[in-house]
Symmetry: C2
Subunit: 442 residues, 2 copies
């Protein structure tokens, strides 16, 4: 088994073997017959879900789970205002965007108003993968080069081009020849001056791309480094690397699919935490609270350069139903004050988790900001060695305690905490209490 295969198993995949309820066993059998090799499920005993609301998910066996995993239903599972807006629009009309209608323009303007001046054009797509795929094309057209720098355990989506820049997707085989991966901006890899260490790594990768003849098209990072294990501090650490990328003639692409839409608790976009100005920003997952909508925001000159050479059209992008979902989600986010709320509850939860270190065996460093936190699970004996198997056991034990959570990082040892933004302080307590109960049992 390769290191990467071990990592993927550590990421809480169902492997069979455990006793299953009959409804679950039946669905697993039907799933494997139709989904085949792509039928990956979470948990040793997969969940059979029937309904969800706010931060809670209900299963067919009558249990209720606190959801710390699902960042897509960001303003809360099945938020009634979003559901009502989409449902009304689906009943009224819903076609592609070669005609004019009102709500997409209301939404485009309201969304673009959250960006720095200059980032004034948006292409609506359907998924974060499509958004990143388009971003790569914008960078290639702008630079005339084909090489990209990403982080070592990055995930940016599922198209052919985006899989090439997603080292975490490769189970067998190495990096695509035009891609260089650098260690994520953490202390372990880059020392105490993370900003300079990361910038130097990016600089060396760009030199290698130039030496290899690919040239440098862009630096693409998830600004919260979620699949790398969540890295957010110190704020500002991205600045020097972005400057290196721009000086080298490439674009800086901020992938905001994970941190965007207020999750970091300090504003709408993760890149703002680092005081950097992207050339392209991509977004997706939480944008429509579960309705498929995504987008690529960029400068007019970069978009024009692409459109001079290729037509770009997205059938399901910028539809009235997608606009209704996006607009309602943004309104709820802003009017319910969820960004500030995420900042407050996130700080409270982070503090609580930090206090567990030392008192509970196997609990390591906590990183992150707002409601995107990473909690390392480490060897209880040395308090340091990444423990992916331990994280996987803990994830399954937390499920028994009624808490849903996932893992990330190169060893699958970082608990990835990214609940709907309506998480309450009492929910945070519930999670911490569950960790303590499990720790005492263990």
């Amino acid at each position: 088994m390769t290191q990467q295969q071990k990592r993927i198993l550590a990421l809480n995949a169902f492997e069979g073997g455990a006793a299953l309820d009959s409804d679950v066993a039946d669905l697993v059998r039907r799933r494997q017959a139709t989904f085949g090799a792509s039928s990956v499920l979470f948990y040793r005993q997969p969940l059979h879900i029937v309904k969800a609301e706010t931060c809670y998910i209900h299963t067919a066996d009558g249990r209720r789970y606190l959801d710390l995993y699902n960042n897509v239903p960001s303003v809360g599972h099945c938020h009634p205002r979003v559901v009502a807006a989409v449902s009304a629009q689906l009943a009224e009309f819903n076609t592609h965007s070669r005609y004019l209608y009102d709500n997409i323009h209301d939404y485009a303007e309201r969304l673009l108003a959250t960006f720095p001046a200059g980032l004034s054009n948006i292409v609506f797509t359907c998924t974060g993968s499509e958004s990143n795929d388009l971003a790569l094309r914008l960078a290639r057209m702008a630079s005339g080069a084909s090489g990209f720098v990403v982080t070592r355990t990055a995930y940016h989506g599922n198209t052919a081009a985006v899989t090439d820049v997603s080292p975490s997707s490769a189970i067998a085989g190495g990096l695509a020849p035009h891609v260089r991966a650098v260690a994520a901006p953490g202390r372990a890899a880059h020392g105490d001056n993370i900003a300079m260490g990361f910038a130097q790594a990016v600089s060396a990768a760009i030199k290698d791309l130039n030496d290899s003849g690919y040239g440098f098209a862009g630096l693409l990072v998830d600004s919260i480094f979620s699949s790398d294990g969540v890295f957010s501090d110190p704020a500002g650490f991205l600045g020097p690397a972005v400057q290196v990328a721009k000086d080298a003639g490439g674009l800086f692409i901020a992938d905001e699919v994970q941190p965007g839409f207020g999750r970091t608790g300090g504003g709408m976009w993760g890149f703002a935490r680092h005081g950097v100005m992207p050339d392209v920003v991509t977004m997706g997952k939480p944008m429509g609270n579960g309705y498929p909508i995504a987008g690529t925001v960029t400068r007019p000159d970069l978009l024009a350069r692409l459109c001079d050479s290729y037509g770009y059209f997205n059938t399901f992008g910028a539809t009235p139903a997608a606009a209704a979902a996006g607009l309602a989600t943004l309104q709820v986010l802003q009017e319910e004050g969820l960004i500030e709320h995420a900042g407050r509850v996130g700080s409270y939860l982070k503090q609580g988790l930090a206090e567990l270190r030392g008192s509970l065996p196997g609990i390591g460093e906590v990183r992150g900001t707002g409601l995107y936190l990473g909690l390392d699970i480490v060897d209880p004996d040395d308090g340091e060695t990444p423990d992916g198997a331990g994280a996987s056991s803990l994830i399954n034990a937390l499920k028994e305690e009624g808490v849903l959570i996932g893992a990330a990082g190169p060893y699958g040892h970082t608990l990835k905490i990214r609940p709907p933004l309506c998480l309450q302080a009492s929910d945070a307590d519930r999670f911490i209490d569950a960790l303590i109960r499990i720790g005492k049992k263990g």
Copy 2:
């Protein structure tokens, strides 16, 4: 201006200059400010839409249009059963597919039952582009080669990899180096024995790919050849080309995004008309009647080969809301007998259009099957030379007559007729009457 740029203008794009109603002018201005260079609109005077039902679209100025363009709302705009199913599901729960829930498996089984034995696995995606992107990866993994053969004015989607195999998307520049384009299977290019002529062209393209070192990964065609100008007859013409592709070690990928889900009036899938067995089938647009859902169907061994090397996950694919949309659409299609209906009304319309040739100036050949028809607009003097500008004028004149339609083909001279499948014979009459009125005026 290049031939390709001319073609794109002929395809009914808004160019400015015409007098616009104030609401339309305002929306155009707002759109250009936010959508930038990608802000392509239909019609000399774009439509400002407010609602739609069945085969009819209503605009802000109180007009009602017969819709012969929109194949996405395939069972009818805003079909109440699909709207109700999606709305109920959005209110109940809607997460990604790493958990178990019922409706996606009901849908997967019902959908896969419409395929020949062997094509037993499905990967749900969000868009036809993602489905074709995945199909290309399956073919590359299976063959170890990178070369593809497509048709000359093909369109398969918008990702980087799929744009490479979509010659119709290129405004400037030539084909990607690993792609060979052959003329679509029409009489003009291949003579009276279309099947053999097309197979010989595919064979020569494969030889060229092998000689160039790319090798041959697959033959990818839209089985109704919609953007090439609609080619459907004689039934069976694809057989020899598919055999050539398989003998050469490549996959045959049937892109059913346009012809699929009963549009051809003779069954669920366009490839069946030609008696061929695809290795991969891709689908999208009409699958959820407007809700973003798409898929790639293939053999378990091909999917396993990809998944051995790469993880594949699609956040918005296989969600409960997507499954609700897909299942309700399929139920309506089957229970309302829309496939047989499309066959009957399509034949009636095709016959009516064929009778116009000779009596109306500029009306050329009609091709196609079911409710995917192509009507050539030709030079009125010689009755033969493709007339893209004439088609564009006719499209705008038809709009004035209350009929919405688009164009396709290498010269943009083929009217593309693909209404919602609930089109009635009286609607077909209305279209023919409009053509006659315009012809008499012209």
